[in-house]
Each structure stands twice: as structure tokens, then as C-alpha cells.
């Protein structure tokens, strides 16, 4: 049948298509940059240089990428279960709150315990924040896209309240908490490199990058090697077949969303426990939304997500440098590029897929002849 020879080889599926989608998004972005009176090619080279040109830049690129691995995995786990989690932003905020509360609860006497509980706190709070939208979707059919967005607004207001109220640094004016106790924080890459005799310029890159990689592996393993992952994918593709197979659909949806929320919540490891060492209002800076672009760009596969995260890390870091060099370009532009990537990679899948599938079919027929 038609479907049988329609399948693309892996390199085209996982390499060519995302590259074309990205190219399309970049071309449109280039046009906007040109419209802003700047040379898009100069902008591109400035960005690449700003993202990879020197050690500090590389450190920043991977630091941002770490955030995106967490939020991208979050979006993709939910997506595999058939759910579109737009709430990464709020889940990350509440995750950061959980982390902070755990750290202050333990205090500075046992820094290692504080760090460990902080990590657990981030995951648990992030997961819990995803629970209500998940439950409402699974049990009541409430549109999860809308509820998770509402929960972003609610989380933001809640955090704002806490950071000018009970959690505010004593005597402080800014919406931020007190500093974490001495020693409670994740090691920086440059310190680790120094310890083994390499010198690396200072950057915020820290151990959470490794935790993010471990999470990516864990997600891959869960989806492809475990029964739970199999059942989760069945639920994501077909509720009726899942019930037929004895899989508790509502429960799986809720669990998947909580895993998703936990991953988003762990973004705080990088930002809060790795760099800021205190809770700041709106520290998430839209990174939760970047996760959507990253997940689509990475075809919802953990390896793809890591690569897409590095790409977006470079966009953020390079974009910051670019904004410095070109006055007409701000970091807002990167947000627009995200939107375009989601559009081309997520919503306009057929734009390049159909012609390329045709091409491959024609090539194959030629081979057959």
C-alpha cells in the first residue's frame, strides 16, 4: 500500500526535515532583520561568534541550553502522552519555589542535603503544579492548553506575592528571596575544569547540565525500553486502544503531566541552584515556552531535544551579543524566531515532508526500474 514505501530514511526524517524547517524560520527571521535595517548575514556571523567564539560564550550557550533541555523534555513527555503542556513556565516557577523552600528548610548546616532536597523540591513542586490541569483534562476534559496557561499567570502572581511578602529578603526592596546559605549551590563548570587542571573562562555553566543530560537519557529509556513508556505512548496515540489494552488512561495522562511538570520544575536547578543562589521573581524569562520550540525542532526525541537546545542556547547567547552590537535588535527578536520555529517545525510539518516524500518515492521507483 501507499504507506509502505512512504517512510523516509532516518537521515531525512531526523536530519533533513528539521534542517529545512529551521532554514525556513531563519529565512523569515532574516527578512525581518533586513527590514530592521540590519544585514542578516552580518547578524548571523555576529550571533555565531557571540555564541561559540570564545570560552565564556560557549559556557553561556550551554548554560542556556541546559534550561531548554529541561523544558523541552517536559513538553515532549506530555506530547508523547497526547497532551500539549504550555505550562512549563509556571511549573518552572513553582519548581523554583519548591527548591528554595527546601533549601531554606534544611539550611546551611547540611549543604549537600539542602542541595539534594532542593532538587527533589523542584521536581515535586513542578509536578504538583501540573497535577491540577492534568487532572482536569483527564477527568473533566478541560482544555489543557488554556488551563496550563492560566496556571502560568497564577504562578507568576503567586511568586510575585511571595517575593514581596513572606519570602522577601529581610530589609530588601527587590522581588527576591534572601541568598541561599553558604555552600548550597551546584558547582560551576569552570571550577570543575580547574580542579582537573584545565582552565576555562568563568561562565554560569554548572553541574545541572549533566543532570539535564541524565534526564534526557532517562526520558529516552522510559519511552523506549519500559512498559510504562510503551503504555504512555499508546495512551498518547489512541485512548480507545489504550483502554482495550487495559491501560488506565486518565491515570497515565496525569502521571505523564506530572513527570512533565517535574522536568520543567527542574529548570530551577540551573537558574536558581546553579547561578542566582536565590529565588527571583519571573526568573523563568519565557524559557518554558522555548521548550515548545525545542521539542518540535527535536522531533520529540531526547537526542533531538539536546541538539535543538544547544541551537536555542546559541540563539539566546548569540542574540544577547547581537543586541549589544545592533541597536535595532533586541532579545524580543529571539522570541519571534521561536514562534517561527514552532510554526514551521510543529504546525507546517507537511510543507516540506510531502514534497520530500514524493521525491523519495520517485527516486525509489527509478531504482526499481
Amino acid at each position: 500500500m501507499a504507506g509502505a514505501n512512504k517512510k523516509l530514511p532516518l537521515w531525512a526524517e531526523a536530519g533533513l526535515l528539521p534542517a529545512l524547517n529551521l532554514l525556513a524560520a531563519f529565512i523569515v527571521s532574516g527578512l525581518v532583520i533586513w527590514g530592521l535595517g540590519e544585514d542578516p548575514f552580518v547578524a548571523l556571523s555576529l550571533m555565531i561568534d557571540g555564541a561559540f567564539g570564545f570560552q565564556e560564550a560557549i559556557g553561556y550557550t550551554f548554560y542556556y541550553a541546559t534550561n531548554f533541555v529541561f523544558t523541552g523534555l517536559a513538553v515532549s513527555v506530555a506530547y508523547h502522552a497526547g497532551l500539549f503542556n504550555i505550562g512549563g513556565e509556571g511549573q518552572a516557577m513553582i519548581g523554583g519555589l519548591g527548591l528554595t523552600l527546601a533549601v531554606f528548610l534544611v539550611g546551611g548546616d547540611a549543604p549537600l542535603l539542602a542541595i539534594l532536597l532542593g532538587i527533589v523540591g523542584a521536581a515535586v513542586f513542578g509536578g504538583a503544579w501540573a497535577f491540577i490541569p492534568a487532572w482536569l483534562q483527564a477527568k473533566r476534559g478541560s482544555h489543557i492548553v488554556i488551563t496550563t496557561i492560566m496556571f502560568n499567570f497564577i504562578a507568576s502572581a503567586l511568586l510575585a506575592y511571595l517575593l514581596v511578602g513572606p519570602l522577601q529578603r529581610p530589609g530588601g526592596q527587590m522581588p527576591e528571596s534572601a541568598d541561599f546559605p553558604e555552600g548550597v549551590g551546584l558547582s560551576h563548570a569552570h571550577d570543575l575544569f580547574a580542579a582537573i587542571g584545565f582552565s576555562f573562562e568563568e561562565s554560569p555553566l554548572n553541574v545541572s547540565a549533566l543532570i539535564a543530560l541524565a534526564c534526557a537519557f532517562a526520558v529516552w529509556f522510559m519511552l523506549n525500553r519500559t512498559r510504562f513508556g510503551y503504555e504512555l505512548r499508546v495512551v498518547g496515540k489512541n485512548h480507545s486502544a489504550a483502554r482495550f489494552a487495559g491501560i488506565p488512561v486518565a491515570r497515565m495522562m496525569i502521571i505523564a503531566m506530572m513527570i512533565s511538570g517535574a522536568l520543567a520544575g527542574m529548570m530551577g536547578l540551573n537558574e536558581i541552584l546553579g547561578e542566582q543562589l536565590r529565588l527571583i521573581g519571573n526568573f523563568t524569562l519565557g524559557y518554558g515556552f522555548v521548550g515548545i520550540a525545542v521539542a518540535f525542532m527535536g522531533r520529540n526525541h531526547p537526542v533531538g531535544i539536546i541538539l535543538a537546545s544547544i541551537l536555542f542556547g546559541a540563539l539566546y547567547q548569540g542574540g544577547a551579543e547581537l543586541a549589544f552590537e545592533m541597536p535595532n535588535i533586541t532579545r524580543d527578536l529571539i522570541v519571534m524566531i521561536q514562534g517561527l520555529v514552532i510554526l514551521f517545525a510543529g504546525a507546517m510539518e507537511h510543507l516540506f515532508r510531502d514534497p520530500i516524500e514524493h521525491l523519495f518515492m520517485r527516486l525509489r521507483r527509478k531504482e526499481a526500474v
Binding site: L36, G37, M150, L158, I329
Partner: protein
């Protein structure tokens, strides 16, 4: 007497804040009745708000602003239509992509043109849709109740609010009293039936999406040139999503959607009034909590009145001729 004035003020601002919600809610309704889910209301609203404020700032003319805002929104609607209809893409993803892209593009352009950190300049009264005092409002004020309602609640809104009052019956008439409306409702329920009846599904859906784009554009225009006096970053603040929730609450029907939007408008007005107020028993509610009210209400409404029982059956599903 002060209590009555309070109520009057509250209802007055309910009408004001409900205006963009009603327009966006109807926009979502028209699109979804044709089978296209429009989660991109938020982005279209923001784009229209920016375009309107920018054009009004440059020309000093609110009508130029309105035109620019509506066109910007319709352009985005066309993109969403192309993705949803021609590309058979995921409509939710497309809508989100538009929301995010606009959230980035609007402040970029604002910064480029006006150099005010992603805002547009403050609009003077001539450049925006300011309050229209209805005839005899001043003299009617002295008449008890009826006069108060007329002068305090009904009078003194901007042009677009009055336009909205006309748009509601117009949309309802279009949907239920015209052949076009019959076809539009049919295509959201069963596009194959429409196709085999010899009507183009594609054309109908583009028409619906463009009508939605126009209405949603107006909702953005009122935001920056009616209620506000210029464009501010993220000024739509989730109103597009609230409108969508109101539409679901309103069962995809114009009048119930209108009522749901008024409820949201009321809550929004209430939260404005509650800020800094000392309430009996609870004391002063922190502003962050009053800000949450509309969002919490949305979640509650979706929790209680959710389900797809009344949703157009084909909404969100791309139409493919070959099965």
C-alpha cells in the same frame, strides 16, 4: 447612595473591560464554528493592538489605527488559515506559534520605530477612540436610577464598544439567519457533507477565519487605542485565552458567549475595584491575588463546564478529501 455609585462604576467598567473579550470571543466562535480552533486569538489581539497604536501614533488618526490593527490581525488569521486548511497542520500548535512570534515581533518593531523600550508613544486624545458622551447624558444624570444607568453606565464608552453592541446581533444574524451561516455551521460539523453538496470547504473556512481575524483585530484595537493610550509589551495579558474559555462556557453560541464575557469583564472590573480596598473580615487583599481572579475563574469555569459535548464536531480536525 455611595453604594449605588459604586455599583454603577463597577458596571460601567464591566462594559469597558468586556469589550475586547466579546470581540475576541465572537472571533473564536466564528472560526471554531467552521471547524478551525483559534488559540491564536491572543497573538492576533496583541498584533492588532500594536499595529493600531503604531499607526495612530504616526498619523494621529485613530481610524488609521483601526485599519492597521484589523489588517494585521487578518494577515495573521490568513497564516493560521493557510496552516490549518491548506497544510492540514496542528491548529493548536499553529495558534501557539503565532502567539509567541507576535509576543517577540511586536516589541521589536515598537523598539525599532519608536525607541521607547518596546512601547509605542502615549497617544493623545485625538489619536485614540475616546469616550463618547451620549446625547442628554448630562441632563439625564439627575433622573434617579434610569438617568444614572444612562449617564453612568451606558454613556461615556469609546466608539468600538458601541460598535461591539452592533456586532453581536450581526454575528448572530449571520450565523443563524443567512445561507452563509448555515454553510458555515455545517462545515464545522461535517465538512464532507458540505463538500459533497458542492460547496468548497476551503473557501468557507478561509472566510470564517478572516471574519474571525477582523473581529479579533477590533478587540486588539480597542485595547491600545480605546481602553489604553498606546501599546505596552504583553498588554493582551491572556485575554485571548479568557475569550476562548468564555466561548467554551458559552457553548459556542453568541448570546451565552456574550454573557460569559460580561462575567469575565465584571470579575476584571471587580479586581480593579478591590485593589487597595479594606474589606470587612478579610482585610486588604494583596494585589497579586486580585490579579489572579480572572485566571482562577477561567480554570473553574473550564473545570465545571468542560467537555466537548457541544463543540462543533469537526473543530480542530483538518479536512482531507481522501480517506
Amino acid at each position: 447612595m455611595e453604594f449605588l455609585t459604586d455599583i454603577a462604576l463597577l458596571l460601567d467598567s464591566t462594559i469597558r473591560t468586556a469589550t475586547p473579550l466579546v470581540l475576541a470571543g465572537l472571533a473564536g466562535l466564528v472560526a471554531e464554528r467552521s471547524g478551525i480552533v483559534d488559540i491564536g486569538l491572543e497573538g492576533k489581539m496583541l498584533a492588532a493592538a500594536f499595529a493600531a497604536a503604531a499607526a495612530a501614533a504616526v498619523t494621529g488618526n485613530p481610524w488609521a489605527g483601526m485599519l492597521a490593527g484589523v489588517l494585521a490581525s487578518m494577515f495573521l488569521a490568513l497564516i493560521h488559515g493557510y496552516v490549518s486548511i491548506a497544510q492540514r497542520g496542528n491548529q493548536i500548535v499553529s495558534g501557539m506559534a503565532i502567539n509567541i512570534a507576535v509576543a517577540g515581533l511586536a516589541p521589536t518593531l515598537a523598539n525599532f520605530w519608536f525607541h521607547q523600550g518596546g512601547q509605542t508613544p502615549l497617544l493623545g486624545d485625538d489619536a485614540r477612540f475616546s469616550a463618547i458622551v451620549l446625547p442628554f447624558a448630562q441632563s439625564a444624570e439627575s433622573v434617579p436610577i434610569v438617568g444614572t444607568i444612562y449617564a453612568e453606565i451606558l454613556s461615556g464608552h469609546n466608539f468600538i464598544t458601541y460598535l461591539t453592541v452592533a456586532v453581536i446581533p450581526l454575528v448572530a444574524w449571520m450565523l443563524y439567519r443567512t445561507s452563509f451561516g448555515l454553510r458555515l455551521r455545517a462545515v464545522g460539523e461535517n465538512p464532507e457533507a458540505v463538500d459533497t453538496a458542492g460547496i468548497s470547504v476551503t473557501k468557507l473556512r478561509y472566510q470564517a477565519v478572516l471574519i474571525g481575524g477582523m473581529l479579533c483585530g477590533l478587540s486588539g484595537v480597542v485595547l491600545s487605542t480605546g481602553m489604553g493610550a498606546g501599546f505596552i509589551r504583553d498588554m493582551s495579558a491572556g485575554k485571548g485565552y479568557l475569550a476562548l474559555a468564555a466561548m467554551i462556557f458559552g457553548r459556542w453560541k453568541p448570546v451565552p458567549t456574550l454573557l460569559a464575557c460580561l462575567l469575565f469583564g465584571f470579575v476584571d472590573a471587580l479586581q480593579g475595584r478591590l485593589q487597595g480596598e479594606d474589606l470587612p473580615l478579610v482585610g486588604e487583599i494583596p494585589v497579586q491575588f486580585t490579579i489572579m481572579l480572572p485566571y482562577v475563574l477561567t480554570v473553574l469555569i473550564l473545570a465545571i463546564f468542560a467537555g466537548r459535548m457541544d463543540a462543533p464536531k469537526a473543530s480542530g480536525i483538518p479536512y482531507e478529501k481522501d480517506h
